[in-house]
Subunit: 104 residues, 2 copies
């Protein structure tokens, strides 16, 4: 049984470990595209904290980032890539197996 | 629905975020007490990496650590505290809600 534990732990993805990243990806599994303010309010994160997690996810090719202007104001929009959605699902599957093994 | 997302994200516990810590706590939900070598082999971690995660969990009062000797060899044994088990269950509950919301 412990052997089994090792197996699915390998599918737990470091890129999605933190609460912020779990939150960002969860939002982007439901919403096709959101802007920075929406994520900030929904996840209750500071600008700096949210930015750094978004950059990390973009660096892993999990996010598409589109910079545009609404009038004169910059507005940056985020969506999950197919790879991002796929790898996030694998991560959730691994967590689900871990939870199942920990249920009494 | 996004409002709901924020709520349970708050129960995701930073102390349990990493794969290593999820693994350590999972083992200690099943096994009453284990030694360092058992954790190292089961979780496939280096000495340094495992030590640092064990210290962090001990610092959060999630682990009991008992140093003893088997003959002349030091043998350190680890078990989860009641608080550790309880907080880990809350963490898994929060992850479970996140997974449920991400299922198609």
């Amino acid at each position: 049984m412990m052997e089994h534990a090792i197996e699915y732990l390998k599918n737990i993805n470091k890129a999605f470990e933190s609460r912020a990243r779990l939150g960002i990806m969860s939002v982007l599994m439901v919403e096709e595209e959101v802007d920075f303010s929406f994520l900030k309010e929904t996840l209750d994160l500071t600008d700096g904290n949210l930015s750094s997690h978004l950059r990390a996810l973009e660096g892993a090719s999990y996010l598409n980032v589109e910079k545009q202007f609404i009038g004169r104001r910059p507005n940056t929009r985020y969506s999950a890539t197919a790879k991002g959605k796929n790898d996030f699902k694998s991560h959730l599957d691994a967590l689900e197996k871990l939870i199942r093994d920990n249920k009494p």
